[in-house]
């Protein structure tokens, strides 16, 4: 008994330093900003800052816009990443090898730079439009539009998601797929009834992290997004930096956090379930 106590103490001692840091630089600021977000104009406390999020027309459209961009980005990212992961899992050849070796690089490219490159590439007079001009196509507006934000999100998130999914797919033994084919399942059926359910958990993980990454993003939406409606990250910055309404910015941040928490809940639940199953 005392030994388990001792181990427990040791565990806590090992965890405390990093948790303390987390506490100081994350938990306290979150708590502070929550308190801040409850403060109204008069200095009292109420939910007026949150009310504003839903009553102000511009803010409402920002929220809807953010959700729309986030969900569209998530869906495309997940589909493309899945396709890529499936491709890397089941194909061979030099091209695939090359992709396997390099697809993770964008994860490490600084966000500003990639965004900057995308602006220069996809702008109205950017490189792409110059190429398309040759074949007589005018590029639709991408930069300063939600398309730009979505494309940037794809650029940033596909490699990461593909990485998660490809390691999940690597964990599915061939014989599981072959036995499905063997009993007569066609390709689509194999995918939807075997491959997908077996990588579903990772899919959830990927969805969680893409969602969290996109919904609070700032750099890309700021540089390539439209003036209005704005992503919440941009709006938050504007409210804080330009309008100097710290409380309102905190409310936006906290609201975003609540949205993330929903997915975070499912993520944690599935991870904990797995843990208990493992023990």
């Amino acid at each position: 008994m005392s030994k388990t106590m001792k181990m427990g103490m040791l565990g806590l001692i090992l965890v405390i330093p990093s948790f303390l840091l987390l506490f100081v630089i994350v938990v306290i600021p979150i708590a502070l900003s929550f308190v801040e977000s409850l403060r109204n104009d008069a200095g009292g406390f109420d939910l007026s800052r949150y009310q504003f999020l839903f009553t102000d027309k511009a803010m409402r459209s920002n929220i809807l816009f953010t959700l729309k961009v986030t969900i569209v980005s998530c869906v495309i990212v997940l589909i493309v990443s899945y396709a890529l992961a499936v491709y890397m899992r089941f194909s061979s050849g030099r091209l695939v090898e090359l992709i396997r070796k390099t697809y993770m690089i964008p994860i490490f490219i600084p966000g500003v730079i990639a965004t900057y490159g995308l602006i220069n590439l996809l702008g109205n007079h950017g490189w792409l439009s110059r190429f398309l001009l040759l074949i007589g196509i005018t590029l639709p507006r991408i930069i300063f539009d939600q398309k730009g934000i979505i494309i940037a999100n794809l650029w940033f998130n596909i490699p990461f998601t593909a990485m998660l999914l490809s390691s999940a797919l690597a964990g599915i033994p061939n014989s599981v797929l072959e036995s499905a084919k063997d009993v007569g399942a066609g390709r689509l059926r194999v995918f939807f009834q075997i491959v997908f359910p077996l990588s579903y958990k990772t899919f959830l993980v990927a969805a969680t992290f893409v969602f969290m990454g996109v919904i609070g993003s700032f750099t890309a939406p700021f540089l390539v997004g439209p003036n209005a409606p704005q992503m919440l990250g941009v709006s938050m910055e504007q409210v804080f930096g330009v309008f100097q309404e710290r409380e309102q910015a905190a409310a936006i941040a906290f609201f975003t956090f609540l949205l993330c928490s929903v997915l975070g809940y499912f993520y944690i639940r599935s991870m904990v379930k797995e843990e208990t199953a493992r023990l």
Binding site: G11, L14, V26, P106, F257, S261, G264
Partner: protein, 274 residues
């Protein structure tokens, strides 16, 4: 989307085309920057610059601020990496090996760093740091950089430690190694790939961090990305492109150096905590 499922002939073609689109999508923004960086005159609608030049390289490299910011960025990144190793690896070991009360709560609390929007977090942190006198200090900057990496630095090594089979540790105990020796000679080296991946990730992430630095480190701590921001803001395309290349170079070099360790499995295991 399910390329591999298609019939052979057309399948190959479609597959190839899609791959090309895919590669172009990821490569062209970077390639565009490279071309831009060496361009002198490049007006619409020319496909390539009609005049190449190193003018912006000269301009960017002449700024002594740039060299300074690169040095500073590396210093900060090294500090962040070192500090997070010191703080997070013991925690990761505890999560992987020791049962203690609330361990899951602690473990998943690191998700907060990703669930709360960065912008909002930085703003609150600034308020806190003013009170703590951490504004415009090296420590303040380092701490802010750690927000982004705490989760990676804890979760990936946790998974790595978990993958060290306990029989491997026990057999070392068995041949006479003390618990500490076991950790040093067996557990740690075996979990090293995970720790390296996490560290590389931390290092690069710190090199790239801009928003938090801007809020906490200005004016004294002008790191590469901060300079990059002002260059994007104040100079035309080519200068930004040059600087982008300078900024990306360490990333690529470090990645190539650590390529052996950076594998999808190691990284993604950190998110699944199996």
């Amino acid at each position: 989307m399910l390329w591999y499922f298609r019939a052979i002939g057309t399948r190959k073609i479609i597959e190839f085309l899609l791959l090309i689109v895919f590669i172009v999508f990821f490569v062209s923004p970077l390639l565009n920057l490279v071309v831009l960086a060496f361009s002198g005159k490049w007006t619409y609608p020319d496909l390539l610059p009609h005049q190449w030049s190193l003018q912006w390289w000269k301009f960017v490299l002449q700024e002594d601020e740039i060299a300074k910011s690169i040095g500073l960025s590396f210093l900060i990144a090294a500090l962040v990496t070192a500090l997070s190793i010191v703080l997070c690896i013991p925690a990761a070991y505890a999560f992987a090996r020791i049962r203690f009360p609330l361990s899951k709560v602690f473990l998943f609390s690191f998700l907060l760093t990703h669930a709360f929007p960065k912008m909002g977090l930085y703003v609150s942190i600034a308020v806190l740091f003013y009170k703590l006198g951490l504004m415009n200090t090296l420590l303040g900057v380092v701490l802010v950089h750690m927000i982004n990496v705490l989760m990676f630095m804890t979760w990936i090594p946790t998974a790595a430690f978990r993958n060290v089979h306990s029989a491997q540790e026990e057999s070392a105990r068995d041949v006479g190694a003390s618990p500490f020796r076991v950790f040093r000679s067996i557990t740690l080296p075996m979990a090293l790939p995970g720790i390296i991946v996490a560290s590389v990730f931390t290092f690069l992430n710190s090199l790239d961090e801009a928003q938090g630095t801007f809020l906490v480190g200005i004016p004294d701590y002008r790191t590469m990305p901060i300079v990059m921001y002002s260059i994007i803001a104040d100079f035309p395309g080519s200068a930004g492109a040059v600087f982008s290349i300078i900024l990306t170079a360490p990333t690529i070099i470090l990645l190539l150096a650590a390529q052996r360790f950076v594998s999808a499995d190691v990284m993604s295991s950190g998110f699944q905590l199996k």
